[in-house]
């Protein structure tokens, strides 16, 4: 099963990379852009007997390794593939 994990910088934490990209977009002429945030997009395959099992595993992977709760939020999706 295909697991897609979205890791984003927490709202209250400065995201200098997002800010720099926003600046660059503006200087490229995209004036109407705001609130750029840069996170991570992790995809992986997990062999699981059911979407529930895959979801449970994905949650554990995120908690243990893929995201750091001090600075990041995460969300994931599971797809049959």
């Amino acid at each position: 099963m295909l697991v897609k994990v979205f890791v984003t910088p927490r709202r209250d934490i400065l995201d200098p990379q997002g800010r720099a990209v926003e600046q660059s977009l503006k200087s490229l002429g995209f004036k109407n852009v705001s609130d750029v945030r840069i996170g991570k997009y992790v995809t992986l395959n997990v062999e699981a007997s059911s979407p529930e099992q895959a979801r449970a595993e994905a949650a554990r992977m995120c908690e243990q390794l893929l995201a750091n709760p001090v600075i990041e939020d995460y969300r994931f999706e599971v797809e049959n593939s």
């Binding site: 720099a20 600046q23 660059s24 200087s27």
Partner: protein
């Protein structure tokens, strides 16, 4: 014996057309058939095309490279092995080399530069030497060009990203910006390693029946044809999956490889080892076999693969990074595999050494390539291409009408990115790791101590394309002189040279002429200094749409100090010290930064008398060794006035200078570049002993003035500037141009 080899189902038929698409000329294709005694298979055609490419075979440069002096008392390993080595005393040998990664860095600056660093590191530790320092020589287009900032940012981040992550300090380098490089940047990477004498590894296969081991990252489709057929549209278009892919570096795996290979080297179980660089598996296996006069057989079913479905052709031509090939002592495979496993690396047995002098590859029960080893290595074509000076004289800047005021000129020069501080670059590099860096970036040459010894090593890389464009011979000579002088200014005795020769398309006679003249200059200068050229690299085809870069031989010099505590930096040390100028001839504005900024005003380069250059360098080494020198700075871009200002920019405490002994009305005295000029400071009491060293050698040695506590730079009545203000211009130039990219 022609051997038997078969093409596989689905592979294109080999014919003259396909050979041409592979970059082989009709004559070369005929030679392939003659050497094989038959038509090559598709796989074999690919193998020949990379091994006979300019990049791998040095077919246009080989006859010239042979004329360089490669021997010397202190030389331990010479050209032919992966890098040169020099005995630096106390049982240590230094291994060093420089290499280009120009085109990959232009396509993808971060990864191109990063993999350039990775490649040169492997050339060093494959010899059993631990990499201890890196340098980088960079050429970018002008800041007006829209891609320059992007390329600069990416290249510097890539060099840092890789070098910082493998734990090898980047201690020196150079950077230049000129419109001549707008469409062809240069990224040359240097690495220095240290090994115990007698413990150097070889790349010469020995022992029929010995197993061949593959270590490191698995093989993917990276960079197939990176070395040879970069531009072959018809061929590329035929298959999406065959498009050359950009190589991505994995410095973490490289760090594991360094540790594991050095540990494996100490086990004594390795017979020969070579990194998989350009033409990866093919070149490493065939070159090791060729050096040993033996044959080799590869079992392609055992090659670790990153993705399934790679064909033999792709496996043999892949340039995936962080891979090594080694020949082990038979029966000791398991011992080696255990060492690599300790470092979480897999070592797979993928073949064996044979006695029949053939390079053979098997795949799924079939032989897909069976070629005489000599045909790939020694019998590759060698060309003496036509060389002729250009019909048109070299382009010169527009003539200068009136000289700017010295004050304005000095300020403009200090803010010129070619002269200004390169801190924005080198502060992105870890220059401290390994605890050897006693002089880091910012002074003329970097100096490293050797732990457990009193000795030290100095290193610097230089190039001088402006002078090379005017006169490719004199330019090359002056480049060697500058690098040698920089090392001597640090107090070290120059000991060896490595070079990276960046030129345009060698099939054009005027480029070949530039190259030939450059080699002559390099040779004459190396001979005059008594220095061996221990390694090098040639990068041709640096041109876009018929516009070649200026000839750019990049020269790196390694120097040795018997007592590292006698090292010298470029910065003024204390008020009251005398400022002296030593020089070998009169400076000229030709090819100077001044001329590039304000316009041409000099007819041509000053001649260089190599005998005097050598005396100047010898004098510096003797004077530093006798502790007579407090600071020494080479006059280069921007001339004397800039050099004095730079010497004032002491990070701990800015100093001032008051000079009466300079002809300030003469712009070439203040801003001229040219034959050797060095600014030295000394204690008053040491003046006579110091100046005797140089005057006895017949060199001009003059007191210009003295160091003062007040941070002002005074030159006669022409200049009276606040040093902090000048430092602000000098330090602010690059960050200012890159605003938004950095804080």
């Amino acid at each position: 014996m022609s051997g038997i080899a078969v093409s596989l189902a689905g592979e294109p038929a080999v014919d003259a057309e396909l050979a041409r698409a592979h970059g082989l000329s009709p004559d070369e294709f005929a030679l392939v058939q003659k050497l094989l005694g038959r038509m090559p298979t598709f796989t074999e055609l690919g193998v020949f095309s990379v091994m006979w490419s300019e990049h791998c075979s040095y077919k246009s440069s080989r006859v010239y490279l042979k004329t360089l002096p490669s021997r010397g008392e202190m030389v331990v390993a010479e050209q032919g092995e992966n890098a040169g080595a020099i005995d630096v005393g106390d049982g240590w040998v230094a291994v060093f080399k420089i290499e280009s990664h120009n085109h990959p860095s232009f396509v993808e600056p971060y990864q191109g530069a990063a993999t350039g660093v990775g490649g040169i590191l492997r050339d060093i530790f494959t010899m059993g030497a631990r990499p201890i320092a890196s340098m980088d020589s960079l050429k970018f287009g002008s800041f007006e060009h829209p891609r320059t900032r992007y390329l600069l940012g990416g290249v510097v981040a890539g060099i840092g990203g890789y070098g910082n992550c493998v734990g090898v300090p980047t201690v020196a380098g150079e950077a230049m910006f000129d419109a001549a490089y707008n469409n062809n940047i240069l990224v040359n990477a240097f690495c220095l390693g240290l090994a115990r004498k007698g413990e150097l590894m070889s790349a010469r296969a020995r022992g029929v029946g010995n197993p061949v081991l593959y270590v490191g990252s698995a093989t993917g489709r990276d960079g197939i044809h990176g070395a040879s057929l970069l531009a072959s549209a018809e061929f590329d278009a035929s298959s999406q999956s065959k498009r050359p892919t950009v190589q991505v570096g994995d410095p973490f795996t490289e760090k594991l490889l360094i540790e594991a290979c050095l540990e494996a080297a100490r086990s004594g179980a390795i017979v020969a080892i070579q990194d998989m660089g350009a033409a990866g598996l093919t070149s490493s296996s065939s070159e090791m076999a060729a050096r040993g006069g033996l044959g080799i057989e590869l079992d392609l079913d055992r090659i670790p693969l990153r993705q399934s479905g790679l064909t033999p052709y792709e496996m043999l031509l892949s340039e995936s990074q962080e891979r090594m090939l080694l020949v082990a002592e038979r029966g000791r495979e398991a011992e080696l595999q255990a060492i690599f496993a300790k470092w979480d690396l897999h070592a797979a047995v993928v073949g064996k050494i044979t006695d029949d002098g053939r390079w053979r590859a098997r795949y799924r029960g079939k032989i897909v390539a069976d070629i005489p080893v000599r045909a790939l290595a020694d019998e590759a074509p060698v060309y003496r291409r036509p060389a002729a000076p250009p019909v048109k004289p070299p382009e010169r800047p527009v003539p200068l009408r009136a000289h700017p005021a010295p004050r304005a000129a000095l300020r403009a020069l200090l803010g010129n990115p070619n002269v200004a501080s390169k801190r924005w670059i080198y502060r992105q590099y870890d220059s401290l790791v390994l605890s050897n860096t006693v002089v880091g970036p910012g002074s003329d040459a970097a100096v490293l101590r050797i732990k457990g010894s009193r000795r030290g090593l100095a290193l610097k890389v230089d190039s001088n394309p402006r002078a090379c464009a005017l006169d490719p011979y004199l330019g090359a000579v002056s480049t060697v002189c500058e690098a040698v002088r920089n090392v001597a200014c640090a107090g070290a005795r120059p000991a060896g040279i490595t070079n990276c020769l960046n030129y345009g398309n060698p099939e054009r006679p005027e480029i070949m002429w530039q190259f030939a003249r450059g080699i002559e200059g390099l040779r004459d200068a190396a001979l005059a200094f008594g220095l061996p050229v221990v390694s090098g690299n040639v990068s041709f085809y640096n041109e876009t749409e018929g516009h070649a870069i200026p000839p750019t031989p990049t020269i790196a010099v390694l120097g040795v100090m018997d007592d590292v505590s006698r090292r010298v930096t470029q910065f003024f040390k204390a008020p009251g010290d005398l400022i002296l100028m030593v020089r070998s001839g009169a400076p000229s504005l030709a090819a100077s930064e001044y001329e590039a900024m304000f316009g041409a005003s000099a007819p041509g380069l000053s001649p260089i008398e190599l005998g005097r250059e050598k005396k100047l360098v010898d004098g510096l080494v003797v004077a530093a060794g006798s502790a007579l020198i407090r600071s020494a700075h080479d006059v280069s871009e921007g001339g004397l006035a800039v050099a004095i200002a730079e010497a004032c920019f002491n990070q701990e405490l800015p100093m001032g200078a008051a000079l009466d002994g300079v002809d300030a009305a003469n712009p070439s005295e203040l801003f001229g570049e040219g034959p050797s000029t060095v600014i030295i400071t000394a204690k008053q009491g040491d003046l006579s002993s110091l100046s005797r060293i140089f005057t006895d050698a017949g060199l001009e040695c003059r007191v210009l003035g003295g160091v003062i506590a007040e941070p002002r730079l005074r030159i006669g009545s022409a200049l009276d500037e606040d040093v902090r203000e000048l430092a602000g211009i000098y330090e602010g130039s690059l960050p200012g141009r890159l605003q938004g990219d950095d804080s």
